[in-house]
C-alpha cells in the first residue's frame, strides 16, 4: 500500500474516532460515573444493539489508528528491511488481536450470554 493511503486511513480513523468517542462519552455521562460502571448497566449497554455496534466501530477505528501510530513510531526508530517488515506485520497482528479480543467481548456481552 502506498504510504499516502495508509496515512489517509490514519487520519480518517482519527476523525471517525473523534465523532464516535464523543458519542461514547456522552452516553457515559448520562449516568453518574460510579453507576455507569455497574455490571447491570454495562451489560444493558452492550445489549443495546446500536450501542454495541458503535463500540465495535470505535474498537476497529482506534485499533487501526493506534497501531498504525505505533508502527510509525517504530519505523522511525530503527531501519532495515527485516526490522521494518517485522514492525509492519507485528502491528497488523497486534491490531487484529486486539480487534478480535475486543469483538469477542462485545459479541458475548451483546448476545446476552453472560
Amino acid at each position: 500500500m502506498r504510504e499516502s493511503v495508509v496515512m489517509k486511513i490514519h487520519y480518517g480513523t482519527a476523525l471517525g474516532a473523534v465523532a464516535l468517542v464523543a458519542i461514547h462519552i456522552l452516553f457515559r455521562m448520562t449516568q453518574n460515573f460510579a453507576d455507569s460502571l455497574e455490571f447491570e448497566s454495562v451489560i444493558a449497554n452492550y445489549e443495546f444493539l446500536p450501542y454495541a455496534l458503535l463500540l465495535e466501530v470505535i474498537l476497529v477505528l482506534i485499533s487501526i489508528h493506534g497501531f498504525n501510530g505505533l508502527r510509525v513510531i517504530l519505523l522511525e526508530l530503527r531501519q532495515g528491511r527485516t526490522y521494518e517488515k517485522a514492525v509492519t506485520y507485528g502491528c497488523i497482528a497486534a491490531m487484529a488481536a486486539v480487534i478480535i479480543y475486543g469483538s469477542r467481548t462485545i459479541l458475548i456481552a451483546g448476545m446476552g450470554i453472560v
Binding site: L15, V18, A34, G66, V98
Partner: protein, 144 residues
C-alpha cells in the same frame, strides 16, 4: 554505530522544549498517542472481564477503581483531549491549512510563517483544554 552516524537518537526526545512550543507539542502528541494506545489495550482487556460474569467484573472494578486508578483515568482523559485537539490541528497543518503563505522573508528570520500564532494558540488551547478536562474528570471521580 550511533557514534559513527552521530544521530541524536532517542536522546532527542528527552529535551522537548529547546525548539519551541511546536516541538513540545510533537513530543506530547507522541507520548499521549502511546499512552492512549497502552490504555486502550488495557481497557479492552479490562472490559473483557465482563464476559466472565459479574464476580469477575466486580473484582476488576475493585482493582481499578482505586485512587491510583482514578488518577490514571484522569491522565487518560487529559491525554485524549490533548491528543484529539492537537491531532485536529496537526491534521489541518499537514494538509497545508493555516501554515502561512510563502512570501519574502525579511531579516531577522526568526518568525517563520508556519510557526504562527494560530498554531501556537491551538497548542496552548489543547493543553489548556486537556488540563480542564482532567480537573473535571478528577472532580467527577473524586468529587461528592
Amino acid at each position: 554505530m550511533e557514534k559513527q552516524t552521530n544521530r541524536e537518537g532517542i536522546k532527542g526526545w528527552l529535551n522537548p522544549t529547546r525548539y519551541g512550543i511546536e516541538r513540545f507539542a510533537y513530543w506530547l502528541m507522541r507520548l499521549t498517542g502511546l499512552g492512549l494506545l497502552a490504555y486502550f489495550v488495557a481497557h479492552i482487556i479490562e472490559t473483557s472481564t465482563i464476559v466472565d460474569g459479574k464476580d469477575a467484573w466486580d473484582k476488576m472494578l475493585e482493582l481499578t477503581q482505586t485512587t491510583e486508578g482514578h488518577i490514571i483515568l484522569a491522565l487518560v482523559i487529559g491525554m485524549s483531549v490533548f491528543h484529539t485537539v492537537n491531532g485536529i490541528r496537526v491534521m489541518l497543518g499537514q494538509g497545508g491549512i493555516g501554515v502561512g503563505k510563502p512570501g519574502r522573508p525579511d531579516y531577522p528570520y526568526n518568525k517563520p510563517a508556519s510557526l504562527n500564532n494560530k498554531h501556537k494558540l491551538c497548542i496552548y488551547a489543547s493543553i489548556g483544554l486537556a488540563a480542564l478536562a482532567m480537573l473535571y474528570g478528577l472532580q467527577v471521580m473524586f468529587g461528592v
